[in-house]
Amino acid sequence: MPDKEPLPAEEIRIGVYTCQCGGNISDVVGCARVVKAAGELGNVVVSRTNLSLCSDAGQALIEADIKEKGVNRVVIGACAPSLHEQTFRGTVARAGLNPYFYNHVGIREQASWVHHDNPDGATAKAIRLMAAGVAKARLLEPLEPIRLKAQKHALVIGGGVAGLRAALDIARRGIKVTLIEKSPFLGGHMAQLEQVFPTGDGARDLLKALIQRVVSHANITLYTQAELVGVQGVVGDFTVQICQQSRGISDDRVTAVNVVAPANLPDEFNYGLTTRSVLYQPYPGCYPATPAIDWAHYEDGCLELNGEPLHLQNKPKTFDLAVGAVVVATGFRPYEPPIGEYGYGVLPEVITLPAFIRLLALAGEDERLEFNGRAVKNIAFVHCVGSRQLDGLNEPQPDGQVNDYCSRVCCTATLQATNELHQRYPAINVFDVYEDIRTYGRGHELYYNLASENRVRFLRFHDDELPEVLAAPAGEEHPALVWVTDYLTWGQSLELPVDLVVLAVGMMPNPVDDIIKLLKINAGSDRFLAEVHPKLRPVETAVPGVLLAGTAQGPMNIQESCAAASAAAAKVAVLLGQGYVELEPFVAIVNPALCDGSGECIKECCYEDAISMQPVMVNGTEKVTAVVCAANCAGCGVCVGACPNRAIDLQGWTLKQYEAMVDALAAEDLFALELA
C-alpha cells in the first residue's frame, strides 16, 4: 500500500437543515429553536428549516447552498434514515459534493413521534441529536461505493397470483427466477374463486393462462412444497437455502396407485365442505397435475400399488441457490372467527364468505342451493367480520392486537356473491347486514347498484350494536335468526329468519415469522409485512434487495396484487439488470502507521480473507501491517473493537466520529442552546 499524500485541509462549512415534515416534526419539535441552536455550532455556516426537505423545492434549497454558499458538509434532521438517507445523498451528489459528506439525523421517529406531550423535551433532544450530527459531519471523509457483481437470478417466495406475476415479469427481463411455493399446487387463494371482479372473468381461466406462461418460461425454475430455510449474504449476492418435501408418487405410477384409506380428511380447498383422500388434487386442472401426498396424515399402508402396500417416506432435500434479490409474495389467509363470533362454530349454518364461494362452486348447475341438506331460502351476509375491530369489543389475536384495519376487498366480494346468488337462484331472499360498505375500486360501485336492483335488503348497524346470530327455536322453518338494529329504518330492531349466515371475513397475513427472521424484514402492527415507505418506496423492505408483492403486505384484490408484483419485478430488474450492485463503502480501513502487526483484528474477524497481514511502505520504511480486502469485508467493525492501537477503523462510522457524537450529546454548554 503506497503512502498517501495528505490532502490540503479545506475549511469545513456545514449546512444544517431541519425538516418540518409537513408538521410531522414541527407540530412537536420547535424547529426554529433547533435552527437557532444549530446555527451557533462550530463550522455551521447555514442553518435552515423547511416544510418538506425531500420535496423538489427542499432539495433545491440544499443544492443552492452547496453551490452558492460553499457548504461542503450537510446535516439533515428529518424522518428515519431508512426513508430518505439515499434521497439526500443524491441531492448532495447532484450539487457536486461527495455523497458521503452527508449525515442524516432521525428526529421524527425518534423525537416528534415519541414525545408528543413534551415539546420542550423533544426540542431539546432534537438539538442534541443535531449537534451530534454536526460533530460527526466535521469528521466525515469522502467515500466511494463498492461495486459488486450481482447474481442475475431472483428468488420469488409464493406461488399465488402475486408470486406468479412477479416471476413472469422478472423472467421476461432476462433474469433467471426460482419460484418456490410452500403448498403442493400453484395458484393460492385465486384458485378457490370462480368469478373475479370487476371484469367477471373466470378466476381459473385467468390463473391457468398465467401459470402456463410461468411454467413454460425458460428463465423460471419452479419448486412446489418448498420453503426458505436459510439466508446469507447481501443484496446482489444472497445465498438462500431451500428445503423441498417429497411429492410422494411419480407421474408414471400415480394412476396405478390405489388409495386404501377412506377419503375422510377435511378438504381445506373447499373449507371443509367436502372431504378428500391422503393422495389428493385440490381441483381438476390444477398445476402440477400430479397428486400430492398429505404427509401430515399419511400412514404406512394407506396406499397400494398393484395390490401391494406402498411404503413411502417423505425425504426432504435441501439445496443452496445464489440469488441477487428476493420477492416475498407469501399471501394471506382468511380471518378465522373465534368460536361464537356471530354464531360461528356454534351454529352449523354460519360459514365464511370464502366457504360460501366454494359452496356456490360446488352447487354447479343445481336448481336449488342446499346447505346441510336443507334448501336455502333466506340468507344473510354480515360485513366487516375480522376487520375494523375495536379494542375491548373484539377478541384479540394471540399477539394481543385486534384487526383494526379494513380488509378492503370483502365489500365488493360480498356484493359480487349476492349478485351471483340472485342470478342463479333468484328466489332466495338476501339480507346484507353492514356497518359501512366501501366499494372503492373502479367499477366496484356497479356491484352495489346491481345488488340494489336485485332487491338485496340492506340493513345498517352501528359498531356499538353489533348484530346477533342465534339458533331459531325448534320447529321454526329457518334454523337461524339474525337480530339487527337497523339504522336505515331509524333504529328498528329486526329479526331475520335465515337458513344460512355468511360472514364476510377479512384478510390476515399468512404466518411467516420464519421468513421475517431469515430475511430480517419488518412486519407492521397489523402483522402484514412492512414496506419502507407507503408512498415513495411501496414495495421495498428495509433490507436492500428484498421486495414485497401482493397480500403479504396488506389486503389487496387481484388487480392490486398484480400491480404490486409487477412493481416489485421492475425493482428487481433495475437492481440486477446491470449485473452489479453498489454497496455502501462502510468497510474497515487500516492506518498502517498505527498498526503494530499484532494480528488481533484477524483473530476476531469471521470473514475469510477480509484481513491479511502484508508488507506495506510507511514513511519510506517497509513494515507488516493488517490490510483489508474491501470485497470480503462485511463492514461489521469487529476488528475495530479488537485492535489495541485503534489502527483499524470503520469507514463512515469511525470511533472518533462516535466519540465526537457522545461529546455533543453530553456537552453541558448545549443546555444554553436548548433553553434559548
Binding site: 428515519a80 434514515p81 431508512s82 432521525g106 421524527r108 421517529e109 425518534q110 423525537a111 413521534w113 415519541v114 414525545h115 408528543h116 406531550d117 413534551n118 420542550d120 423535551g121 423533544a122 431539546a124 433532544k125 442534541r128 441529536l129 451530534a132 427472521k517 430480517k520 424484514i521 419488518n522 412486519a523 407492521g524 402492527s525 428495509a542 462502510f586 476476531e604 474477524c605 469471521c606 470473514y607 462485511a634 463492514g635 461489521c636 467493525g637 469487529v638 475495530v640 473493537g641 479488537a642 485492535c643 485503534r646 470503520l650 462510522w653 470511533l655 462516535y658 466519540e659 457524537m661 457522545v662 461529546d663 450529546l665 453530553a666 453541558e668 443546555f671 444554553a672 436548548e674 433553553l675
Partner: protein, 145 residues
C-alpha cells in the same frame, strides 16, 4: 399510546444496531408511543466495534447510562453478537474499579419490531437511574423538562 414517563435529567445513550435496535426505535416512533426524552439513539453497524475504553470514556463524559441494543442471534454479521457480549463483559469489572455502578450498562437484543422490549429497557433504565442518580455530580445549570 403513552408509556410511563419519568421526569429526569439523566442522559441515556442507546447504541442500536441499524439492522435491529435502531429500526426497533423507529418502529416505536411509527407506533407513536411516548417514552422519556432523555434517550439518545445512535445507529451502529455492530456494537462489537466499540472497545472497552469507549464505554468508560462515555461515562466519564457524563452519559449516565448506556443501553447496547444489539441484534443478538439475528445479528447479520458473523461473530458480531458474541464479540459484543465478550466486550461488554470486559467492561463491567473496569466500571467497578472506577466506581461506576455496573447497572448503568446493559446489553439487550432488540429486533426491528421489538417495540415493547425497547420501551421496557428505556423505562427500566430510567428507574435504575432514579435509584442510583447521575454518573457524576453535574453543574448547576437549569435543566429542560
Amino acid at each position: 399510546m403513552a408509556v410511563e414517563t419519568v421526569k429526569c435529567d439523566f442522559k441515556i445513550l442507546i447504541l442500536a444496531t441499524i439492522s435491529g435496535g435502531y429500526a426497533g426505535a423507529d418502529s416505536v416512533g411509527q407506533l407513536h408511543t411516548d417514552y422519556p426524552a432523555n434517550v439518545y439513539v445512535l445507529p451502529v453497524v455492530c456494537p462489537a466495534m466499540f472497545p472497552e475504553d469507549f464505554y468508560l470514556r462515555t461515562f466519564e463524559r457524563g452519559i449516565d447510562a448506556i443501553l447496547v441494543m444489539y441484534s443478538g442471534t439475528d445479528c447479520p454479521y458473523k461473530g458480531g453478537a458474541e464479540r459484543t457480549a465478550v466486550i461488554i463483559n470486559h467492561v463491567y469489572p473496569l466500571m467497578e474499579t472506577r466506581g461506576i455502578d455496573t447497572r448503568r450498562l446493559r446489553l439487550a437484543a432488540i429486533c426491528t419490531v421489538c417495540t415493547k422490549p425497547f420501551l421496557n429497557e428505556v423505562i427500566q433504565m430510567n428507574h435504575v437511574l432514579q435509584e442510583i442518580g447521575p454518573v457524576r455530580q453535574k453543574r448547576n445549570v437549569p435543566v429542560p423538562v
